[in-house]
């Protein structure tokens, strides 16, 4: 993580701080008010499976809309241009729709409380324990990296010392999740969603006006960066050269299929929001409702990045103090008067807390229901697990604060670890998809698919790419290729192991495999859920068509 340029210090005044302070008060208030609704462990970990779809849908997208995502995707746009749209239209929407339409009946209908718990029932304890432990480590690590990223930004923009920012925001997140559990995390995410939009939308409009509208932006960047910079697919034919270092095949398969399906369908920090929905229809609609804002959010991060590239042509090179990550803070400093500036800072802080809270609230659930309850202390009362969930939240936040401080002295190691863990989602997806669609997949195939797939993806990235055995032009391109390698290797391992090992009996697989049913999957629709605009199929296909249409103006 590169420190932000010193000249980005914002000219804040009392008005901006009043706006920020009010936000923190409301966030804590949600925690205190949600507390009285937590009676059982299910209330704490999954909001009692009783949330309406619009709330879980917005929380689903907000959990992904962390500040590392916002600043990172703006940086991506300043560096690679309109290619950024791939992370949204092909790299998110199809996977979100697949989760809602195809996978959710198995997830929600089987009444599992977490993604690893699904693996326990479909496969066995070794697959379960491996995925639970890795997920717990990754969640704490990502929460810590998020905290550290925030501390750097806050230090640059507001002049607060790093440790103050780390401790204050960790304390706020800790307070509201320990008090209200997932309900207060989800409610805060819904609020955060609107605050983030209120921060980014005016900034985007001003940024566009500053460079003479879309046409002015397009002309400036085409002149300085070449015509491919303003297109989604220009220069991506196989064998031709482009800044992203990827061709259409690795974009579609690596990003659009493997990486994106791995993240959106098996990352529990996301899936947990859908599992807290009040019925199957609401659970299915959770990622589908989230898909619509996701299609358009790309403009709110990409345009500021492009404008920064147009205003500061030497951004990200040694000719400028500004790094790509500074795009949004730079525009805030240039364009926003006090008042709006306070809203924008609040939006950034909200986004950092959203990114951290999603990891903390999924970590405490997996650690309690998937590690502590089955393997350490079995057969305790529900009140015991509720209390333990609160305690482990405190421990998890403390560990991520520690991670944040370690990150401040060893940020390269952190980047390395994050890449390492990112390769774990890929085989997770293989194991899910094969296990869901192929009844014969054996009990042991889950564990071996996870292990072989993860190791293969890591080998490809850290040995074949980093050591230069095969040359891939960029880190992003290598990421896509490694993901494809992990997918193929994981699938191959499962195909080899399955014929030699024991399958699950059909009654154990009811409701977990395509073509089987469980009682939870056949519930009658609730009153009002049969309205046409609440039909999952229509919502899902509508999102796919809309995302495809969005590509058209950027493709020719």
């Amino acid at each position: 993580m590169h420190p932000l340029a010193a000249e980005l210090r914002l000219d804040t005044n009392a008005l901006d701080y009043v706006i920020m302070a009010m936000y923190f008060a409301v966030v804590l208030g949600i925690g205190f008010m949600a507390r009285r609704s937590v009676k059982t462990s299910l209330d704490f970990f999954l909001s009692g499976r009783s949330m309406p779809a619009w709330i879980t849908g917005l929380a689903f997208i907000s959990a992904n809309l962390g500040a590392t995502e916002i600043l990172g995707m703006a940086a991506n746009s300043a560096q690679y241009g309109v290619y950024t749209t791939h992370w949204y239209w092909i790299g998110a929407i199809p996977a979100m729709v697949f989760l809602g339409l195809v996978m959710m009946p198995f997830y929600y209908g089987s009444k599992v409380r977490s993604v690893p718990e699904f693996l326990l029932h479909r496969y066995d304890r070794s697959a379960h324990l491996l995925s639970s432990v890795l997920f717990s480590f990754a969640a704490v690590l990502i929460a810590g990296v998020n905290l550290y990223a925030m501390a750097i930004v806050v230090e640059a923009l507001l002049g607060w010392p790093e440790w103050v920012a780390i401790v204050v925001s960790a304390a706020v997140v800790l307070a509201y999740i320990t008090l209200g559990g997932l309900s207060s995390a989800v409610y805060n995410e819904v609020l955060q969603f609107f605050v983030i939009i209120a921060a980014l939308l005016p900034l985007t409009i001003l940024a566009l006006k500053r460079v003479g509208g879309w046409d002015g932006l397009s002309d400036t960047l085409t002149a300085s960066r070449g015509s491919d910079f303003m297109t989604a697919w220009g220069g991506t034919s196989i064998g031709s050269d482009n800044p992203l270092g990827a061709n259409w095949l690795t974009i579609v398969l690596g990003l659009g299929f493997v990486l994106s399906f791995g993240y959106w369908t098996t990352n529990f920090a996301e899936v947990q929001r859908a599992l807290s929905a009040k019925n199957l229809s609401a659970a299915q609609r959770t990622p589908l409702i989230g898909a619509y804002p996701k299609i358009f959010i790309v403009f709110l991060v990409m345009i500021p990045g492009l404008v920064a590239a147009a205003l500061v042509p030497e951004i990200g090179t040694s000719g400028s103090d500004l790094t790509y990550n500074d795009s949004i803070p730079y525009l805030m400093e240039q364009l926003l008067p006090n008042g709006m500036l306070g809203v924008a800072i609040t939006g950034l802080l909200a986004a950092f807390m959203a990114g951290m809270a999603a990891n903390v609230s999924s970590f405490n659930t997996v650690f309690t229901t998937d590690i502590w309850e089955p393997y350490v202390k079995r057969g305790q009362t529900d009140a015991y697990y509720l209390r333990f969930g609160r305690i482990i939240t405190v421990i998890g936040v403390a560990a991520s604060v520690g991670t944040a401080f370690i990150a401040s002295s060893f940020s390269n190691i952190m980047a390395y670890l994050q890449t390492l863990f990112s390769f774990f989602n890929v085989p997770m997806f293989v194991v899910f998809i094969i296990g869901m669609f192929w009844k014969r997949t054996s009990v042991k195939a889950g564990f071996w698919g996870l292990l072989v797939g993860t190791v293969a993806a890591m080998l490809n990235y850290f040995w074949i790419y980093k050591q230069g055995v095969i040359s891939i032009p960029s880190d992003q391109g290598a990421n896509f290729v490694s993901a494809i390698v992990g997918f193929v290797a994981g699938a191959a391992a499962m195909l080899v192991v399955t014929p030699f090992t024991r399958p699950k009996s059909p009654e154990q697989l009811a409701g977990l495999v395509y073509g089987t049913r469980s009682p939870g999957m056949s519930e009658p629709p609730a009153v009002g859920d049969d309205a046409w605009y609440r039909k999952p199929a229509l919502l899902g296909w509508g999102a796919i068509v809309l995302a495809a249409l969005c590509y058209i103006p950027f493709s020719f």
């Binding site: 008010m33 009783s50 309406p52 619009w54 709330i55 009444k111 309900s183 609107f194 364009l335 009811a510």
Partner: protein, 124 residues
């Protein structure tokens, strides 16, 4: 918790099967207090955005020429304030027009009978 049907041998020992898990979760859903006791988030979002909107509208009305010039000649505080005010009023209005329906006596009785907690009334 529900280890009563434990299979004594085999590698799956101690793992509740999906049926047992479903029973355990349904029991917790019946005891859950979230649906009946959690406040309505629309009131909170509405309240905060109305207050933010008013603050920005007032700030926008008094913006100096320099501040307006900084924002490329747009009264951005005023416009953002009006936008946030409108969103806040939308949430408050939505909550007033479509309040969360409290459970009727019949539905409560049904829930007590051990009918799945699935059709808990929730009018969002």
């Amino acid at each position: 918790m529900s280890d009563t049907n434990e299979r004594p041998d085999g590698p799956d020992r101690g793992i509740p099967d999906t049926g047992e898990l479903a029973e355990q979760i349904e029991e917790l859903e019946r005891r859950s207090a979230t649906a009946s006791r959690l406040f309505d988030v629309r009131r909170l979002i509405g309240g905060l955005f109305v207050v933010y909107g008013l603050i920005l509208v007032v700030a926008g009305a008094f913006d100096s020429d320099a501040e307006i010039a900084k924002a490329v000649d747009v009264r951005i505080n005023l416009w953002t304030g009006l936008g946030m005010l409108a969103l806040g009023l939308f949430f408050l209005g939505w909550q007033l027009l479509r309040p969360v329906r409290p459970p009727s006596a019949e539905e409560l009785a049904e829930a007590m009978d051990g009918h799945q907690g699935k059709d808990r009334p929730d009018g969002h």
